[in-house]
């Protein structure tokens, strides 16, 4: 069996176990949050009989184990239940709101990689000189403030004082784009509407930058530190002694081994953004899954809580598998150790 395939199968097995564990944990936690979901859903005017009936319908009057059994049975049939917050099937809500968050997070992830890694390399190559100092100060600034603070600052600077960017939603009201993938940047292109595509991109800029800034700083600082360490390795000194161009040394010999720890952090950051995006989504009125998740938790909407957490956990696991495979691809020692272990 190919080493990469072996890694993939092992990771898939571990992920399945983690997913079951997460579902059990969240299932239990969601039920100990104070508040009766049936009462909250029906509102203060509902009678005790109505609340009791809804509790029975939701199986809340049964033991926790039996409730979990119902949940697993429904999930295996692809049914996550009805959301009490939106009065719609949870699967429909997730299908509608997940692409908005994924689009935002993917765009932020691209910014993180496209800006974080080059800044880290630049700082390492000019270690101890002004570009290094400048980048370290800037990245320290980005990692020291949370995303929602950046969201408000960016909004004030680039929407309020300098009205360059839109501040709410995913696209201007004048565009009506047929929903195909749910990713507006993709759907607008599929519709051949380039003005709408540009408008969707325009709406993405501020929230994506706000979400990415902290990750850009982390990626840059980590890449710099790894690059500096790599530059002190004997094989780099040998390359320098041979008179290789600095750009070739950086690209061919220093960057690849330095990338591995950065890649792990970027992968984790990317997945974490899915859950952390809610404040950015709230500030920019972005109708995504993170914001939905917070709203359903506040309303103790059990089905929607489970659905949201499972989807975020699943995405987290998928991203981790991809990162593991990339690292295995970049680092032959991991591939070989897997083969040796088997």
């Amino acid at each position: 069996m190919l080493p990469v395939l072996r890694i993939l199968l092992r990771r898939l097995g571990i992920s399945a176990v983690v997913l079951v564990g997460v579902s059990m944990l969240i299932f239990a936690i969601a039920r100990v949050i104070p508040g009766d979901p049936a009462r909250i859903a029906l509102g203060p005017s509902a009678s005790a009989e109505q609340v009791t009936a809804l509790r029975a319908e939701m199986h809340l009057d049964e033991p926790l184990v039996a409730q979990y059994g119902h949940f697993v049975s429904d999930v295996l049939r692809g049914d996550l239940g009805q959301s009490l917050y939106t009065n719609r099937p949870v699967t429909r809500d997730i299908a509608e709101f997940l692409p908005a968050t994924l689009e935002l997070v993917i765009f932020a992830g691209i910014l993180m990689v496209a800006l974080g890694l080059p800044l880290g390399i630049l700082a390492a190559r000019h270690r101890g000189r002004w570009p290094d100092h400048l980048i370290r100060v800037l990245t320290l600034l980005t990692v020291s403030a949370p995303s929602f603070v950046w969201a408000v600052i960016l909004m004030l600077l680039f929407a309020f004082y300098l009205p360059l960017f839109p501040v709410a939603g995913r696209i201007s009201d004048i565009y009506e784009i047929e929903r195909i993938t749910g990713f507006l940047t993709v759907d607008t292109l599929l519709a051949g509407n380039f003005a709408a595509f540009a408008d969707a991109l325009h709406h993405l800029v501020l929230p994506a930058v706000a979400l990415a800034l902290s990750g850009i700083g982390q990626a840059a600082r980590l890449t710099r530190a790894n690059m500096v360490e790599t530059y002190q390795k004997p094989y780099i000194e040998m390359a320098q002694a041979y008179g290789f161009f600095p750009s070739r040394i950086a690209r061919s010999y220093a960057f690849k081994p330095s990338l591995i720890p950065s890649l792990t952090i970027i992968g984790l950051d990317f997945a974490a953004m899915l859950g952390n995006a809610f404040l950015v989504e709230a500030v920019f009125a972005w109708p995504g899954l993170s914001r939905y998740g917070v709203n359903v938790i506040l309303r103790k909407d059990l089905n929607a809580i489970m659905g949201t957490v499972l989807i975020i956990a699943l995405t987290f696991l998928i991203v981790n598998i991809i990162v593991d495979l990339l690292i295995a691809f970049l680092n032959p020692r991991i591939r070989h150790s897997t083969r040796a272990a088997s």
């Binding site: 509102g43 203060p44 109505q50 501040v167 709410a168 201007s172 004048i174 920019f284 009125a285 506040l298």
Partner: protein
Amino acid sequence: MTTKRMLLAAALAAATSLTSPAFAQSVLRLDEVAVGELDPAKASDYADSILMFNVYDTLVLPRQGGPGHDPHLATAWEVDGSSYTFTLRDDVTFQSGNPLRAADVVYSLERMQAMGQGLSYLFSGVTAEAVSEHSVRFTLEEPYAPFVASLVRLPIVDQMLVEENATGDDPWAEAFLSANGAGTGAYMVSSHNPQSETVMAVNDGYFLPINDAAPDQVRLRYGLEAATVRTLLAQGEHDIASQWLPPEVIRALAADGAQLLTESGTGAFYVKLNTTRPPLDDVNCRRALSHAFDYGTAMQMIAITDEISQGSPATGAIPVGMFGANGPEMSLSRDMAAAEAAMEACPYAPEDWNLEITWIAEVPIEERFALLMQANFAELGISSSIETLPWALFTERVSTPENTPHISQIFVNAVTGDPDTLLYGMYHSSVPGTWQSPEYLDDAAVDAALEAGRVGATDAEREAAYGQLNARLMELAPTIYGFDRQSVFAASDRVRAPALSDPDMAFGLDGMGFSFRLMEMVE
């Protein structure tokens, strides 16, 4: 098209899109904190009311600029004891094209009663029958003087359309009506996304003339942050902000040139004391808190400009202008001498108190009132802790007296404009614990006055009953009557809303000022 050309086209479009898009039709954009509930049988809060009053119609409407009610879907009504017979207009069609019939009125009432949500409690003990195609008779089990007023909360749904969308599991088509409209209203639901907005378009087939300048489309947005609303208004991308913005944000918007719209007269800000938990189970202890509360500072906290405030001084349990209210000259003020005297009579030593003061997470101004109370009560030697409660959790906690906090802060309004719907749900001992009644008051004289207010045959009788109630509630001090509420909305100069700016056009009913058909968009 090659990739390069596509990229070039996209870049050009991006550059051009930096300017605000022009609308071919007039669009009104406003926001509310809570998600609007489209199903009229579940409607209860402000956002729900805005949707209900525009997508649906009712048999009567509050009279603009004064007391009383005018026919709306009805042309007239007759009262015979506890029986009310309404004649319906014969020129009204639903948005589906179905004609309005008396059967629709009966169905709307029965649907609301069967679902038992929203404001259905207003119609318990009421039955309806279709006397003819365009005549409907309501019969009340017990006399209820403000019955006609309560009909502003009975939106009429299209029975045929609703039944077409009903299923065995969903006999009242709740899923359908949570995402679609089925009314006769001046605006039709185009789309409803609970996460972002409800979009409505003007109903060209409406049975009344609609102002030519009324918005063609309305976008009711949900859950916008204060900073977002301020930026949107500055960019010209928003028209009316919700009333829930902190006063300083409304003040800043006014300074930026926003006009201030107002709606008042049916509600108040109440600080509710749990009368079942020590030390607030003693009337003197409660009186001490009432006297110690700094009403003047509270008024300063809600002032927007020198002329406009989010409230006016309270004079008692009943807002000024309603039956039984004290005059504006009797405004409440802080009296530390009276507070200390009451503390002397209070059987609990102040050092043993640890009051739990809560505020609703969705209403930031309440945190400031909580801090104010903490400081005020500390002057009497009383310690307290402040706790934030999301609305959903608060409504759950108040369902039992032992879980209800010592002190809760609530804005309450008369959902029909009549004092009965403000006061009965708060103070009658038969009402179980709800968000309106965290006092858990149980007093025979209060119950008697509330019941007398319901059955009074004349306005004078009702006035007398509510006057007695007001006096008794001041004596018992189950609540600190903070201030009479006025909702203030910051708005762009693109919109004119007479019902929210001209007292002669005001409806005296929360949310009805947002009848979009009466608004004008100015380009």
